[in-house]
Symmetry: C2
Subunit: 325 residues, 2 copies
C-alpha cells in the first residue's frame, strides 16, 4: 500500500443551501417535520421558495460540509459529487475548492439544475431541510475514479446518496476500489427517515463492507428498530467494526468490539443553528482517524468541530478548525 495522497475522499450529494428563518407556524402550514430532511421535486421547491423569507445561499451538502471541515483542520480531502454547469454549480465548486478540497467531478451539461436544500431555521435553532436533488441524480459509477479512491486513506459517503438512483452503484464501486487498495470505507446514516427508507441495505452494508459507521441516536434507533440508545448501541456494536454515535448535547460514544469510549460534548456559548453538526463531527473524527489518533481523541475532535458549526448560521466552519485544537 502506497502512502495516501488524500486523507479522506468524500462522495455526496452536491447541494447549495438556501437558509432562511421561519417560525413553527410556517412549518405547520407547509406540512414539514421539524429537524428532518424531506426530498422535494422542482415544482415543490419553487412553491416553497416563493413562500419563504429572504435567504442566504451557502454551499452545503452533508458530505461537502464534512470535507470542508476536514480541510479546515488541515486535512487533505477530495470530493465526488454532481452539479450542473449553472451559477449555483459554479458557486458550489468554488467554495469547496477554495477550502482546499480537490473537486474534479465533471459538471452535467444538460438535465436538471444544481441541487438546492431549502433550510428553515426555527427560533429554537432546529433546521428543517427540503432537498431538491436536481443534478445529483446524475451521479453514477462513471464519476468514480478508482485511482483517486485508492489514493485516499478513507472513503466516506453519506446515506443520503441512496436517494439518487445511480449513486449507490457509484458508492459500491468506490468501496470495492478502496478495499482493493487496502483502504478503509465509512458511511453516515444521514437522517432517521433515510434509515427508514434503506434500512435493510444499510444493515447489509454495515455488516459486509463498512469500516467506520457514523450515526446519531435517532438514526441507530431507527436502524435497529429499538427504543433506547443503549439497545441501539449494543446492536451497533455487534454489526459495525467501528461506530461513532452522536447524541447532541450528551456528546458521543465510540464503540469498537468490546471497547466503548464516551466523550462529552464541547461547550457552546449559544446554539444558533444546528445545521451541519453531524457533518462536522464526522470531519473532526475522520481527521483524527487519518492522523493516527486514538478513538476517544477522534471523538473529541468531532465534538470541537460540531460545537463550532452550531454556534453560527451555516453548515461549514467559519473559524479555521486547526486553530481550535
Amino acid at each position: 500500500m502506497t502512502s495516501a495522497a488524500f486523507d479522506v475522499l468524500g462522495i455526496g450529494n452536491a447541494i447549495v443551501d438556501v437558509i432562511s428563518h421561519a417560525d413553527d407556524a410556517f412549518l405547520g402550514r407547509h406540512g414539514l417535520v421539524k429537524g428532518s430532511m424531506m426530498l422535494i421535486d422542482e415544482a415543490r421547491a419553487e412553491s416553497l421558495y416563493a413562500d419563504m423569507g429572504p435567504g442566504v445561499e451557502i454551499s452545503g451538502g452533508s458530505c461537502g460540509n464534512t470535507m470542508a471541515g476536514v480541510a479546515s483542520f488541515g486535512g487533505r480531502g477530495a470530493y465526488v459529487g454532481k452539479v450542473r454547469d449553472d451559477q449555483l454549480g459554479a458557486v458550489f465548486g468554488h467554495d469547496l475548492t477554495a477550502t482546499g478540497v480537490s473537486f474534479e467531478t465533471p459538471r452535467a451539461t444538460s438535465g436538471p439544475s444544481t441541487a438546492r436544500c431549502l433550510i428553515l431555521v426555527t427560533p429554537d435553532a432546529q433546521r428543517t431541510m427540503n432537498t431538491y436533488l436536481g443534478a445529483c441524480t446524475g451521479l453514477g459509477p462513471d464519476d468514480i475514479d478508482v485511482e483517486r479512491v485508492a489514493a485516499a486513506e478513507v472513503t466516506y459517503v453519506e446515506g443520503y446518496l441512496w436517494d439518487a438512483p445511480a449513486a449507490k452503484q457509484a458508492v459500491l464501486k468506490a468501496f470495492d476500489a478502496a478495499h482493493a487498495a487496502g483502504r478503509k470505507v465509512s458511511i453516515t446514516l444521514s437522517d432517521s427517515f433515510c434509515v427508514h427508507r434503506y434500512r435493510t441495505e444499510f444493515r447489509d452494508l454495515i455488516r459486509s463492507k463498512v469500516d467506520i459507521l457514523f450515526g446519531n441516536e435517532s438514526e441507530i434507533k431507527a436502524l435497529y428498530e429499538v427504543d433506547t440508545f443503549e439497545a441501539a448501541m449494543e446492536a451497533t456494536r455487534k454489526e459495525a467494526k467501528i461506530a461513532a454515535l452522536t447524541r447532541s448535547e450528551k456528546g458521543s460514544v465510540v464503540v469498537k468490539g468490546s471497547e466503548t469510549y464516551a466523550v462529552p460534548a464541547a461547550p457552546v456559548a449559544r446554539v444558533v443553528d444546528t445545521t451541519g453538526a453531524g457533518d462536522l463531527y464526522a470531519a473532526g473524527f475522520l481527521f483524527g482517524f487519518t492522523h493516527g489518533k486514538p478513538l476517544a481523541e477522534c471523538a473529541r475532535l468531532g465534538g470541537i468541530a460540531a460545537a463550532e458549526v452550531i454556534s453560527h448560521v451555516g453548515a461549514r466552519p467559519e473559524q479555521a478548525l486547526k486553530t481550535l485544537i
Copy 2:
C-alpha cells in the same frame, strides 16, 4: 396629489453580494483599496473569485438593501433594477419580494448575467467591494413606469447608477415624473470614488432637482473638494435642500437651510461588517421622513438601522427593524 401607494420607490443596481473573509495581504496582492467600491469586468470578476475564499451569497445592491430596510420598518416600497433570467437573478428577485418590496422590472433575457459584488471583509470589519455590473448595464428609461413613480412619496436613487450607461436617463425620467406628481426625490452619493467620477453632474443635480441628499463624510468632502467635514457640511447646506450626512461612529448631521440636527450613533456591541451601513441609514431616514417624523427623528431611525446591519455579516437587516423602534 393622491395619497401614495408606496412610501419609497428605489432605483438601483440589482446585485447579488458574494461575501468572503480576506486579510490585508489579499487586498494588497490584488491592488484593492480598502473600504472602496471598484468596478470590474467579467474576466477580472472570474479571476478574483477564483482566488477568494469560500463565499456566502446574499442579495445586495446599495438601493436594494435600503428598500429591504424600508420594508423591515414596515414601510411600503417598490424597487426598479435589472437582473438577468438566471439563478442569481431569481435569488435577487425572491429575496427582495420576500421582504415585501414590490419588484416588477422585466428581467433581461439575453446579454450579461446578473451582477455580482465580490465583497472582502477584513478582520477590522471594513468591506472592500468589487462590482461586476453585468445585467445592470441594461437598465434604461423604458424600465421606468411613471405611474409607479407618481405613486411613491419619495423616489430614491443611488449614485452608483451613473456607472451604468443608460441608467442616468432612467433616473432623470423618474425624477421628472416624481416632481410632476408633486413627490420628492432623493439620491445617495454612494462612494467617494463615485463622486470623483461624476462630481459635476452630481452637483448640478443636487442644485436643480434633489430634495434629500445622503452622503458620508468622505463623499461630501470629495463632492466639494474640501478637507474638513465642517467645510463640506457648509457647502452642502448651500446647495442641497435637505442633506443627511453620516459620520460612522460620530453619528449623523442633518442640514436644511439654517437648521442643523446632530444625532449620535446608536450603540453597537461589536462591529462585525460595515457593509450596508449607509444603505440602512437611508432606509431608516426615509421611513421616518415618509411617516411625517421630524428630521432629527429621521436621523435617529437611520442610526438604529445602521447599527443593526453592522453588527452581523451581510448588508440587509437580520432583525425586523420595526421591533427596534
